[in-house]
Every structure is written in structure tokens, then in C-alpha cells.
Amino acid sequence: MQRRTRAVALAAAAMLAGAGVTACGGGSSSASGDKTITYWATNQSTSLDADKKILQPEIDKFTQQTGVKVKLEVIPSADLLNRILAATTSGKGPDVLNIGNTWSASLQATGAFVAWDKELLAKVGGESRFLPAALKSTGATGKDPASLPLYTSSYELFYNKKLFKAAGISSPPKTWSEFVADAHKLTKDTNNDGKTDQWGLGLQGASSSFAAHWAFILGTQHGAKVFDGHTPKFDDTGMVDGIDQWLSWIGKDGIVNPSDAEMTDKVALLQNFASGKAGMILAQSSTGKTLGQYKLTTADYGVVPVPAQDPAVAGGTDIGSFVGGINVAVFKNTGNLDGSTQFVKFLTSAKEQVYLNKTYGTLPSVTDAKDPAFDTPTLAVARETLDSRAVPLPQIAEESQFETLVGQAMSSFAAQTATGKQPGKAKIKSEMTAADQKLEAGS
């Protein structure tokens, strides 16, 4: 009996020690000599599984062509930044990965990514193959790109045609005052129970990245400069006016269901739009593809550019979106740079660009990817916006802090508006000054 106890104890100790050893040895799947590369793809479609089903057959094609094996991992967008930061700190991560293009310069500053110099760019067909607008969001100006554009998109206004017709609205809004007026007509109590159950606009109030995007778009329309060089100008009058306009939709204008202030995920937003609880949503191009999953077609919804200020604000720039999209980068610690470059070449090849962007409802980022599928109304609006009414988010290292600091403050404002009182411009300004100080304390 005692001998048995001791044997068990020994086994337990051995297992513990073994666990320690494997824990230390794990994670370095991309050692040199090993041909397999790891690819982190962001969640682009409705679920992680759906993405795997879309990407895996393409990856198999790549392996067949080149002999390079690829291990695919799809990462939820909300976790992506944390995962990248953790990988950067530990030096152990994927070989090839997706990043939100607005973080390009911030992540470039960590030095974790391979820089695409002329020589490396030549391997994927050269700089001239990529769309100039998309290439603007690949890293700080004047530096070699830290990533290459993969999928390109812009914000658009999606509206429910049936609800518009029922409310007697003949044409979709072109300016924000028309937008608010139309939204008022859509906001009503449809079943006469004394409670409003149909709203003019749906938004993800608790999503800080969504909020930050709108701080940038509306702020720029009001003449805000987010950064002066590297100094944050979040408390600029234009920015405060832009945030105030966004908050008024929930507060003063009353065209948004206050419950949207606790909404974090896009799926709930699309459900509300699909079921007619929200007449309009402001969303990025790929939404058109996702709405198809809710059995909605362009007969049910229409897409128009994001409205403009009316009258135009002096000093403001009329934009409808920033240059949105997903980029692909190669991790500096890769043990297989050649295989990784080949994989990026494959992903940015004309054929794959057509297939992937068609599947995700985004626009290709290379000039030679042409297909009738990109002539849908949604993508026509996106192309028009990207051509003439879009600017990239500031390509400086501090950009991601703008998204988190301002975005979190706005979500908090939205919550205050929904649960009590809409914060006035003075309050917004003082919070934005605090955000400036937080950023400066950290730089």
C-alpha cells in the first residue's frame, strides 16, 4: 500500500515537472527549418467558424502551390489588439497576421513587424499594384510600410426601404439635418402600447472603437485636427462639437433607443436593423454581405454615403469615412520569412483578392483585382467615398490611444445620456482635456 502511495506521488511529481517543461517549450511553432507558418486572421464574417470555412480551402491551395504549410487561427476583433501586444512583448506569435489598418503606425512603433522595403515589396508585385488610398494606412508617412492592405472598406448609411416608404420619406438623407428629420419620422410606437418600439437610428454605444470612429468622422466635418504633430488635440472645439452631435442622437434628438448605449456587439445591431426596430444604421461596407445572412437584399435596404454637415462648417472637411480596412503584416520573429512573404503574395494576388473581398463584401486593395461583384450599390458607394470623401486616420504612433481614450469617454457619455442627462459641451471638453493629459502622461 505504502509503495503504491509513493509510486503515485512520484508520478504526480514527474507530471508536474513535465508540465513545467512543456509550458516553457510551447508556443515556438515557427522555429527555423520548420516550414509551417502560423496565420492570425481577424474575424470578418458572422462567426469564427464561418471564417475558417472561407479561409481554409484557400490556404490549402496555397500549400499545394508552394509546399508551405499554414496553421490558421481566427481571432475575434475585440481580442486582436491584446493578442498582438502579448505576442510583441513575448516575441512569440504568429508569422503572418491581420491588423486593423488604423493601428498601422501604432503597431509599427513597437518594431514587431517586418518593414516592406522596395526589395520586399517587389516580391509581391511592387508598390504600384496597391490602391494609393489604401496604401496611406500602412504606417507612418515617410517610413516603409509596416503592413500591406488586404481588405478595404468605408462607412456608409444603410436604410430600411420599407420603413422609409411607410414613413413617407421619398429619398434618403444627404445632410445631417435631413437625417435627423427622417429619423424623427421613423421613431414611433407601432403597436400603440405607449412605448416607442421603432427607432430612427441604431448604434453600438458601448463599443469604444465604433464611438471613436464617429468622433473622427464628425470631428473632422467640424474642423477638428486630432493631433497637432504628436500633440493630442482631443479637446479641440471641432472635436467637442462632433462628439456633441453624436450624443445628441441619443439625447436631445431622441432618435436612438437609449438601450443602444449598452450595446457592444454588432450582431445585436444588425438584428435590430433586420427586424425593423431601427430604420437606419451607420456601418462599414462588409455589412452588406452580413445582412444577406438575415435574408435581406438590396430590395429591402438601400445604401447611401454618410450625410454631410448642413450648412457646411467653416474650416471643416467634408468626409464620409476614414479609409477603413484590414492589413496584413509579417511578424519580425518569424522563422520563415520567405514562406511568410509568399503567403502575403498569395493573399494579395489578383485572384485571391477578388475571391476574399467578394466573400467578405469589402473592396480589393490592389488595382488588378476586377470583378463584376464589386459593382454592387454598397460597394459603389464605398468606392465613391474612398475616392473623394475619405482620409486615413492619423498615421502616428499615438493613434491607437486616440481610439481607446476618446472611444471609452464617448461610451461613458452615451451611458450618461441614456441613464440621465446628456453631458454638455463644457463637460465633454473637460473630459477630452483629461484624455489629452492621460496620453501625454504616457508618452
Binding site: A9, S106, G111, A261, T419, K438
Partner: protein, 328 residues
């Protein structure tokens, strides 16, 4: 870990050995065998150092550096700032320090509510199951379910319950006619109470388990004797159960305090990553403020302060309870 210490089973002095075994034992017990128990403990010790002490030391080191995104891939090269990070964090007029102080007080309130709530519910449940009755085993198992559920599953379910439009809580309150318009639970001031309810729900089975174990050690004769003397259940609780549980309670309160004060998963999952000011607990606050500004040095400084505070509280608590223990 006790299994891998062989001395306890074989060589303890209390074990009646046969003469033959004992003689052999003496021969081998000299200098040569002394190290064996330690050798067996070594893997555990190595893991303990690796898992607990290395991160603490690294965190303390990082708190003296100005680590931002420029250095995260080689943070040890970051410029040394001495107490610079602590100065920013403890400057309560500045936005960073002010937010930290607010989060600290929210956490104190949260801990007080959750600690008392979980203790009262756990105590009540333990008392209810103190006497044997049919179905007691089943109830015991049932009571442990919240503790056994994975944090994510449990808290995400609460998130659905607390949603304003489609949540079960507002639906229930509406059906009962208690509310006219749906209140918010996940944002605004109510978020604090929502968070407390979830944390109490997760924590009370632990209190129940420990108190129940403690009660089983109280001999039944004490209760019999006291009821002959005419003591009712309330008096028995006051004069017997609580005093005899006091040593168990000392440990229980400390462990629950540390758990609750450090709670990360409840606010993080319940509020989807961005806690509202009313529910901004300190561990989530540190995580958010260090990731939000990519300033890992500041985040480490806050963590070090948290560590110091918790160590101080624990030390004071132990010193105090030990003294009262001696006096009684």
C-alpha cells in the same frame, strides 16, 4: 502537494514501526536521506517561483521604467524613471490618479457589500443544512453549482439577464408591476449593484462550504446540553456556533476579501470589457488604463500599489485577529 512528501507517511515518529523496519529505517535515515523530502518538493517550489515570484519581480521592475509601445518588445531597455510612474499614479489632482482613487473607493464599497452578502447567505445555507434530513446531500451539491460553473459561462448568463430591453430581470420586474419603464443595469449607477449581485452569487458557495466544514467539527453534545439548559436556536447560534467557528471565520473573511478585492472576471465579462464608472473595479481599471494608453509602466506601478495595499491589510488583519485570539 502533500502527497509527494514521503516523510509524513513513512517516517513520522508516531507511526508504530516493527523493530526490523525501525532498525533499517535508522540505518538509512542518516545524512543521506534528509534531502529526499526536499528533492520531492523541488518541482513544486520551482513552479511556485516561476508562476508567482517571477511575475511579481518583473512587475516591480517594470513599475520603475517608462514602458510604452516603443519598448514592449524589449521592455528591459526602457528608460528608467525611478518613482516617476508612482508620482503620476498618486497625483490625485491629475486625471490618472483621480480615476485610480475613484476606482479604489468603488472597489472598497464593492468588497464590503460582497463580503457581507456572501457571508450572510453562506452562513444561512450552512445553518439550514446543519441537521441531517432527507435530501441534504442533494441540496449541498446544488448549492455548490455557482462555485463550480466556469466564470465566463456564469457571468455571461447574468449579462443576458441584466440587459435592458430583452433581459429577464426587467421582464420579471415588469410582470410584477414593480417598474414603469425599464431601468438600466449594465450602465449607470445600477451597474454597481448588478456587479455586487453577481459577485455574491459566485462567492457565497465558498463561504457555505468552509462554514459547513467548520460546523461539522462542533460536537452535537454541546447543542444537546444547551437545549436541556433551555437555549433556543438563536441563543445556540450566538453562544455556540459563532464562537466555535471564529477560527474558521478568520481565515474565510481574509480569503474572501482578497478574492473580492481582486475580482477581474466579474466586471470584465459582465460589462463586456469597458466597466462603467460606478462598477469600475480596480483590477479592470489597471488593465484598461495600462492597455488604453499603452503605458505598461504606469499599469505596473498601479499593480505594485495594489499589492502593497493588500499585503498591508492582510498583515494588519492577521496581527489584530491573533491578538484577540490570545486575549480570549
Amino acid at each position: 502537494m502533500a502527497v509527494i512528501s514521503p516523510s509524513g507517511t513513512r517516517e513520522s515518529p508516531g507511526t508504530p514501526d516493527t523493530p526490523k523496519q525501525s532498525a533499517r529505517g535508522r540505518r538509512f535515515r542518516g545524512r543521506g536521506r534528509r534531502w529526499i523530502p526536499y528533492a520531492f518538493l523541488l518541482p513544486a517550489l520551482a513552479l511556485e517561483v516561476l508562476i508567482h515570484f517571477v511575475p511579481i519581480v518583473l512587475g516591480v521592475a517594470m513599475s520603475g521604467l517608462r514602458v510604452t509601445q516603443y519598448q514592449i518588445s524589449h521592455w528591459w531597455d526602457a528608460p528608467f524613471t525611478g518613482l516617476g510612474n508612482f508620482r503620476i499614479v498618486l497625483d490625485f489632482d491629475g486625471p490618472t490618479g483621480k480615476a485610480l482613487a475613484q476606482s479604489f473607493f468603488v472597489t472598497l464599497g464593492f468588497t464590503a457589500v460582497v463580503l457581507s452578502g456572501a457571508w450572510i447567505v453562506g452562513m444561512a445555507a450552512a445553518l439550514a443544512l446543519q441537521r441531517a434530513f432527507r435530501g441534504r446531500g442533494l441540496l449541498r451539491t446544488l448549492f455548490l453549482v455557482p462555485y463550480a460553473l466556469p466564470a465566463y459561462t456564469a457571468v455571461i448568463t447574468w449579462r443576458f439577464i441584466f440587459q435592458r430591453d430583452n433581459g429577464m430581470l426587467n421582464h420579471l420586474l415588469g410582470q410584477l408591476g414593480l417598474i414603469d419603464s425599464n431601468p438600466f443595469w449594465l450602465i449607470g449607477h445600477n451597474a454597481f449593484w448588478a456587479e455586487c449581485v453577481v459577485a455574491i452569487w459566485r462567492m457565497w458557495p465558498f463561504a457555505f462550504l468552509i462554514l459547513m466544514a467548520g460546523m461539522q467539527a462542533i460536537p452535537g453534545e454541546v447543542y444537546e446540553a444547551s437545549s436541556i439548559d433551555g437555549a433556543g436556536p438563536w441563543r445556540q447560534l450566538q453562544m455556540i456556533t459563532l464562537p466555535l467557528l471564529s477560527s474558521v471565520n478568520k481565515v474565510l473573511v481574509l480569503v474572501m476579501f482578497l478574492h473580492t478585492f481582486n475580482d477581474f472576471s466579474t466586471p470584465y465579462i459582465l460589462f463586456g470589457g469597458s466597466a462603467p464608472p460606478a462598477g469600475d473595479l480596480i483590477s479592470v481599471h489597471i488593465y484598461q488604463s495600462s492597455f488604453a494608453t499603452w503605458n505598461f509602466g504606469l499599469g505596473s506601478a498601479m499593480s505594485v500599489l495594489l499589492l502593497l495595499f493588500l499585503t498591508l491589510v492582510s498583515a494588519c488583519y492577521l496581527a489584530l485577529t491573533r491578538r484577540t485570539g490570545h486575549e480570549s
